[in-house]
C-alpha cells in the first residue's frame, strides 16, 4: 500500500492538472482508507468533479468531499482610502 503522504500529494496534483478540475487550492488529507477534500470552488458542478478526479487518482479509498462553493454577498460598504 502507498504511503498516505504520497497518495495525498498524487491526488492534489491530479486535481490541479486534470482538465476537468484545474483547482490549485484544494487540501487533501488521507487517514487510513479515507480521503478528505477541503477548500472552496467557484461552482457547484466543480465540487462533484473533484470527487471524480480524486476517486480515479486514489482507487480503493473512500472520498469525503467537504469542499464548498464560494458564497458571494452584495457588494457592501465602500472603503475610504
Amino acid at each position: 500500500m502507498d504511503t498516505p503522504h504520497y497518495v495525498a500529494a498524487r491526488v492534489q496534483q491530479a486535481i490541479a492538472e486534470d482538465g476537468r478540475t484545474n483547482e490549485l487550492g484544494i487540501r487533501v488529507d488521507v487517514r487510513g482508507d479515507h480521503l478528505f477534500l477541503r477548500g472552496q470552488v467557484a461552482g457547484e458542478d466543480q465540487v462533484h468533479l473533484l470527487t471524480d478526479v480524486a476517486r480515479e487518482a486514489a482507487p480503493g479509498l473512500t472520498v469525503h468531499n467537504e469542499v464548498t462553493c464560494v458564497e458571494v454577498r452584495e457588494p457592501g460598504e465602500e472603503e475610504h482610502l
Binding site: G43, V72, R73, P75
Partner: protein
C-alpha cells in the same frame, strides 16, 4: 474629486456560469466609477471561457479593466482571450497602462508573477529554468515602471493577478508564497508611486496590506472578499 474603484478577481467563469454572473454587477454604476478585474477570469483558459467572460462584462455602464491570471494562460490562447475581451469594449492590461475617466484615473499593470518576497526569494542564479522564472518577474516589474511613468493622472492604480506583498497572503501556506507573488512588483510600484494596488490569486489570503513604501494593497480574490466586488474610494476627504 474622488474616484470610486470597484474590484474583484478570481471569478473563474466557465460554461456553468454562462448568463449567471452578470446579475452580480447590477447597479454597479451607482457604487463605482470603474471596475477592475484582477485575473483568473476563466477556469481552464480556453477561448470558449474567454468568450463567456466577454459576454458577462459586455456593455456595463462603467469602464471595465482586466488583467489575465495563470488560469487564463493554461490553454495557450491568452492573446486570443485578450482580443475577445477588447472586442467586448473592455480594457486589457498586459504590462501596459491606460487612462480613463477623462484623464483623471491611470491604471497600470498586468498578470505579474512569482519569485517570493525580500530575504526569502529566488535569484537569477544556477539552472536556466530558475533564471528564466526569476527573469520573467524582473522583466514584468521593469515594464510596470515604464507603464507607470507614462501616466500623468490625478490618481494611479495598479492592477495585478499575483501579489506584490506577503501581507495579503496571510492564510496561505508560507511554503507557497514564492508562487503567489514577488516583492519585485511592489518595489517597482513604490519607485514610481501609485494610490492603490489591487491583486488576486491568493484565495486563502487576506484583503488588506501595504507595500514597504506605504501604498495600500488589496487582495480582491472572490473567495477572500465573499462579496460581488469591493469598492475603494480614492481621496477619502471627499468620499
Amino acid at each position: 474629486m474622488s474616484i470610486r474603484v470597484a474590484a474583484v478577481a478570481d471569478i473563474h467563469l466557465s460554461e456553468a456560469q454562462r448568463g449567471t454572473y452578470r446579475e452580480r454587477l447590477d447597479g454597479i454604476e451607482e457604487r463605482a466609477d470603474v471596475l477592475l478585474v484582477g485575473g483568473d477570469l476563466t477556469r481552464h483558459g480556453t477561448l470558449g471561457e474567454g468568450k463567456i467572460v466577454a459576454d458577462e462584462f459586455r456593455g456595463l455602464p462603467v469602464p471595465v479593466v482586466f488583467v489575465l491570471g495563470n488560469h487564463d494562460y493554461h490553454s495557450d490562447v491568452e492573446q486570443e482571450i485578450m482580443a475577445v475581451l477588447r472586442e467586448a469594449g473592455c480594457v486589457v492590461l498586459d504590462d501596459s497602462a491606460e487612462t480613463l475617466l477623462d484623464g483623471r484615473l491611470g491604471i497600470a499593470g498586468g498578470k505579474g508573477f512569482g519569485g517570493g518576497f525580500a530575504g526569502k526569494s529566488a535569484s537569477e542564479f544556477g539552472e536556466p529554468e530558475t533564471k528564466a522564472f526569476v527573469r520573467h518577474t524582473r522583466e514584468i516589474a521593469e515594464r510596470w515602471r515604464t507603464a507607470l511613468k507614462s501616466l500623468d493622472t490625478e490618481y494611479k492604480v495598479v492592477l495585478s493577478h499575483y501579489s506584490p506583498v506577503k501581507e495579503t497572503l496571510a492564510g496561505e501556506p508560507p511554503e507557497i508564497y514564492p508562487f503567489l507573488g514577488s516583492y519585485l512588483l511592489a518595489e517597482a510600484v513604490d519607485a514610481e508611486g501609485a494610490d492603490l494596488i489591487v491583486h488576486g490569486h491568493a484565495h486563502h489570503g487576506t484583503e488588506k496590506g501595504m507595500t514597504p513604501g506605504g501604498i495600500r494593497v488589496r487582495n480582491v480574490a472572490l473567495p477572500v472578499l465573499q462579496r460581488a466586488y469591493a469598492t475603494y474610494c480614492l481621496d477619502a476627504e471627499e468620499c
